[in-house]
Structure formats: C-alpha cells, structure tokens
C-alpha cells in the first residue's frame, strides 16, 4: 500500500519537476549565459564530464549581462511598459463591457440562466485563434466595420483600426470577456435579493442601492475577473501579432521575435525571466484575493 502511495505521488510530481521546473531552470541558466554563433547558440554549456572544475568554471561564466542589456536597449523596457499599459487599459474596458452583461444575467429569470451561461462559455471552447482571426475581416480598411460606417455616412474615409493598438484592445476585450463575466456573475448571483430590498426599505433608490450594496458586494468577483484578464493579457502573443501593428509593442511578441527571428536565446530567456517577475505581483495579489474570498465564505 505504501508503494502505491509513493507511486501515486511520485508520478505527477516527477512529471512536473521534469517538464515544468527543470525547463524553467534551464531558461534561467541561459538568461545568464552569453550569445554565441554555435549550436546551441549560447555559451557556456555545462559539460559534466569536466568534473567539479568544469562546474565551477560554468558558474564563473554566468553573469547578468543580458539583464543589463534589457535596461539599456529602449525596445525592452518600452515594450514592458507598453504591455502593462495595454493589459491594464483592456482590462478596464473588459470590466466596463462585462459588468452590465453579468448583472443582466444575474437579474434574468431563473429558467434563462443556464442558457445564458452556456452562451458565455461557448466562445471559450472555440479556438482562440479563430476568434482573433474573425476580427481581421471586421477591422481592416475594407472591413465590415468601415463598410458599415461609410454606409451610415458617419465617416467619409475608412478608419485605420487594423494593425494599431486599438485593434489589440478590441481583440483582448473580445477574447477575454468570458473571464470577466463569469466571476462577476458568480458574485452577483450569490447576492441575497433581500439585501437590495432591505436597502430600499431603509430609503435607498434603485441606483443608490446598487452603489451602496450591489457594487461593494460584487467586488471580489470584479477583482478576480480583472486579474483573470490582466495576467494572460500581459504575456499575450497571438493578438498583438495578428491585430497589432509594428508600433504595438508587447513583450510576448518581442520574446517570440527575439527567439525565432534573431535567434538570440539568452536575451529571449532574459526577457522571459523579467516577464515572469513582472507577473509575480498580480499573481500574488490574485491569490490573496481568492483566499480572502474563501475565508469570507466560511
């Protein structure tokens, strides 16, 4: 029985060690190495046959040069900043779009709700790539949005939306909207209707009951939704590369290009390490929020 227990624990444990932790340590190591025209294109490589001296030699050659490089080259810190800004702005827009939908879902008749839930979840099962692709035909210069606006007479010349940061906002809001709606809906659906009645009974109008009771009580859902959009948006690659233009800087895209186009593995690894450090803050905050919510429920 004990052997079974050990196997049960060891199998997933070793898998994750081997395919998650070790690869990440390799990234860290390469980030501290130097670029070289070789295969693999970095140095030093660890040669264990050299024994203890080789290992010491190996550690001696590691340095923070690549990280210094990241701070010196404008491209990197600009794209970090721009990633944070784009993720933050799109998270905010997603909140503005998602909250009324979640609210209306929570207010809708009981028998509608499973269907509405399914309609929100359905896009999530659909290919991410296809959902981003769908917007190319809408946002391009000859696209449906411009055709529509020209037809209504609101504009005379087509708007340039495709290949701009605006298109990236649209893409992020569209693809991550379900992540915002679901936690807010969950919070609003749990809300006891008699609290709103109590607020009205004590003299609140509909609107002030919303501000004073509904909104504060849905805050955990709002926070969870914001993190669920912000965290993946920060490292997003597909949306900026399909909808964004050359001036749309996002760190995921930079990493990809550094790796595949420039074949600069050490810099790409350093970019990855910094991106992860950047993500630690929102992730820790998110964890705290979830924990607090769980405690509040108990």
């Amino acid at each position: 029985m004990n052997l079974r227990r050990v196997t049960l624990i060891a199998l997933p444990y070793l898998w994750l060690l081997g395919f998650f932790l070790v690869p990440f340590l390799i990234v860290l190591k390469i980030a501290l190495s130097d670029t070289a025209v070789a295969i693999p294109p970095y140095t030093p490589t660890l040669d264990l046959s050299g024994g203890w001296a080789a290992i010491r030699d190996f550690f001696g050659q590691l340095d923070f040069e690549n990280f210094t490089w990241l701070t010196e080259d404008e491209l990197y810190w600009k794209s970090y900043l721009s990633s944070v800004r784009i993720a933050a702005i799109s998270t905010f827009i997603t909140l503005l779009v998602g909250y009324p939908i979640a609210y209306a879902m929570a207010q809708s008749p009981d028998e509608w709700r499973p269907t509405l839930m399914m309609l929100v979840i359905l896009p999530f099962w659909t290919s991410f790539l296809i959902r981003v692709y769908a917007w190319i035909g809408i946002l391009s210069n000859e696209g449906f949005l411009n055709q529509f606006l020209l037809w209504t007479g609101l504009i005379d010349t087509p708007l340039t939306i495709m290949n701009t940061t605006t298109a990236v906002y649209v893409g992020i809001v569209y693809t991550y909207l379900p992540f915002m709606i679901l936690p807010i809906y969950a919070a609003l659906e749990k809300l006891d209707g008699s609290l709103i009645e109590a607020a009205e009974d004590l003299g609140c109008s509909r609107l002030s009951a919303f501000w004073l009771v509904t909104l504060p009580l849905s805050r955990p859902g709002v926070i969870a939704g914001c993190f669920l959009v912000f965290i993946p948006a920060l490292g997003e690659f597909v949306i900026p590369s399909l909808l964004g233009g050359s001036q749309t800087l996002m760190i995921g895209k930079v990493l990809w290009e550094e790796f595949f186009s420039n074949r600069d593995w050490p810099v790409a690894s350093a970019v990855a390490v910094v991106l992860l450090l950047l993500l630690i803050i929102p992730i820790v905050l998110f964890q705290k929020n979830q924990q607090r919510q769980q405690e509040a429920e108990q």
Binding site: S194, L195, D201, L202, G203, S208, A296
Partner: protein, 379 residues
C-alpha cells in the same frame, strides 16, 4: 400585565372612537392565476403588536410585503394613517422591515448597518451618531459596534437587524419570522426582549410567524390565516379559548374534536350525541344551535380531568382506557379510548414529585369535564 384593572387594558379595537393605523380594504393579490390574498379586510391599531399566523403559503408574507411596498395589491386599497400607500415605493414609506434572513449588509459593520437608513435621510452626522448609539444601547450591542455581521452570533445578528429597522423610528415595523433562525432557548428569551422593546419605543409591530406559541406569547392580537383569508382575529386568549372554527381550534394548541348531533337541553345548554350508547356531552353553545344540527365539540386536553372515580362537580363523565402516556416532566399527556372507540387526549399537571400510584397502560379510568370546558363549533 394589568389584568386586574380592566380600565387600563390595551384594547383599541374595542373602542369605536379609535382610528386604525393600518386598514386593508377588500385587498386581493394575485400572482398569475394564484390568489395569494383573497378579498381581505383587516384593521390594525397604533401601538399594537399584531401577529399574522398561519401555515406557509397562507398569504401572511404577501400581506407583509404589501405593507413594506414590495408588492402592490391587485385589487382593493391599503391605508396607512389614512393614506392610500399603493403608489408609494418602499424607500418612501415610513415603514421598516426586519427580514427573515436579517439581510444584514455583510460589507458594513454593525454600526454602519444601523446607520444605513439614517444616512439616506441626509440627517446631520451628530444626530445620526446619537441615534445609532441609542439603538446600540437599546439592543445591548455596544460592544459589537465595530464588528462585521459574520463576526457575531445569530442572536446578536437578530438584534442588529432589529436595531437597524427601528433606527428610523418607523410608524410601523414589520417582522418576518424574526426568531425563526434562533434555537428554542434563545427564541423564548428574545420574545420577551421584543415585547419589551416594542413597549419602550411605542412602535406598532406586525409580525409574521408560523409558530403559534410565538404568536401567542408576543402579540396583543393574532390573525389566523388560511388560503389568503383571515379566519379569526382575536387576542391570544380569545383565539385559544373561543376559536370560531375547527381550523383555528386545531391550528392553535392541541384539541380533541368530537363530532355529533346537537339537542337542546335546559338553561340554553345542548346535549351532543356523538356515539350510540354513549352518554351525550352537555355543553354551552356560544350561538343558538338548531335541534339535530351537526356540530363539532372542541375541548383542550388540559380541560379534562383523569381520575379513578368520576368527578361529580363536573357535568360530563366518560369511562376511558389508557392507550399511551407521554411524560413531559411538568405535565403528562394521556391518550385514551372511550367505549365508543373515540380517541381523546387529556393532560394533567404533575404537581406531586412522586405520585402514590401512577396511571399506567390499559388502566380503566374516568374522564370528567364541565359543561363550559369545551367549545361548540358549527361548520
């Protein structure tokens, strides 16, 4: 209470000069095809502690929600202080409600919950603070002012809910099953607190409950409801001792119902023949009864005396065999069978700590009751 001085008894409903605070006039409420309230007319007076009592689905909660303004009558009018409140939304009514779930705002402290309604009125800060501390004192919650609702006990939450709904000094306070969530001991204690607070503040209370004991304890008058209609409105004693129907008699407390045919007897009394060969029951009707009419005789178990010998000071006697005994400490309930097969229960207080000889199963005993011990009901 002041039972010995009849001139002080609080009974505005008997005073034709007194104007009711609340008047339901032919109120009907339908939800789709379901009639929740059926052409109901009822007056409630100032300073009353009025209980709406009935099983779930009888319409009592709908009546309360109409008073609070969360529902509007389909037909008829509700007057509060002579004003038709139909078009007034809940936030504009001088009526406050204590919710069954308490509906305390979980994100606000006890203090902020109590101040919530006061702040909506744009009252100045210092008078809000004064009123809040007054309410905290009244409900003995001073120590918990800064806590959140989930940090206090169920009984304390109940008091916060009460304080919050009383803070605006409403003309009328509605209480929806206010003690339903408390355990028995706490509930009994809280009932007296409620009565005390009602007396101190002089507010009119309307309480909705399905617990007849609770209604009897706290209320000045009780309305027994069934299927959207009020069956009887009376003081607790009136409801208990002179129910107007089998439904009310059966709903409030335990009762024996014996059905039979009435025959006139001397001195306005009647004899109820309930079984072949059994001695008819001598009873005092409250209304004239025609000869041969079907009636139901309702008698409470504690009005029947169980003894080895018939008690000749009482008009009615019957032999019975003990089927079952429920010993409850202070009282014992005997389930008996009469020779006619009629089942009857009787209750005796256990005044002696150790009786010389207890009754036991299968004992043949005598039941005795007076001609005024039970009620004659026709329906």
């Amino acid at each position: 209470m002041a039972q010995s001085k009849p001139q002080n008894v609080f009974a505005p409903w008997n005073d034709p000069q007194e104007k009711p605070l609340i008047r339901f006039q032919n109120v009907t409420k339908r939800f789709g095809t379901f009639t929740a309230i059926d052409n109901l007319t009822l007056d409630i007076y100032r300073r009353e502690f009025f209980a709406l009592l009935g099983p779930s689905g009888c319409g009592k909660t709908t009546m309360m929600r109409m008073l609070a303004g969360f529902e509007t009558p389909t037909e008829g009018t509700i007057l509060i202080d002579g004003v038709d409140v139909g078009p007034i939304p809940p936030n504009k009514r001088a009526v406050n409600m204590m919710f069954q779930s308490y509906a305390l705002f979980p994100h606000l402290t006890v203090e902020d919950n109590i101040a919530f309604g006061l702040r909506r009125d744009k009252t100045d800060r210092s008078s809000i603070a004064d009123r809040v501390s007054e309410m905290l004192r009244l409900t003995r919650l001073e120590k918990f002012a800064k806590r959140k609702p989930h940090q206090i006990s169920g009984g304390q939450r109940q008091r916060v809910a009460l304080a919050r709904s009383l803070a605006k000094a409403p003309k009328l306070l509605l209480l929806d099953e206010p003690l339903g969530a408390l355990d028995r001991k706490l509930r009994e204690q809280t009932q007296f607190e409620l009565m005390d607070i009602q007396e101190k503040t002089g507010t009119t209370f309307v309480i909705v409950t399905h617990d007849q004991e609770e209604a009897m304890t706290v209320a000045s008058r009780v309305a027994v409801m069934d299927h959207g209609k009020v069956i009887q409105v009376d003081t607790p004693a009136g409801i208990y001792e002179t129910p107007n129907s089998v439904y009310v008699a059966d709903f409030i407390g335990d009762v024996n119902i014996i059905r039979g045919k009435a025959h006139p007897a001397d001195g306005g009394l009647i004899r109820i023949h309930y079984a072949e060969g059994a001695e008819p029951i001598l009873a005092t009707p409250t209304q004239p009864v025609a000869a041969g009419q079907d009636v139901a005789f309702a008698i409470r178990p504690e009005k029947i005396v169980v003894a080895w010998e018939p008690d000749h000071s009482r008009a009615n006697h019957a032999r019975g065999k003990i089927i079952d005994i429920a010993y409850l400490g202070n009282i014992s309930t005997y389930h008996l069978e009469l020779p006619s097969g009629q089942k009857v229960s009787a209750q005796m207080t256990n005044a002696r700590r150790l009786a010389r000889r207890d009754f036991t199963w299968d004992d043949e005993v005598w039941l005795s009751w007076s001609d005024t011990a039970g009620v004659v009901l026709q329906d």
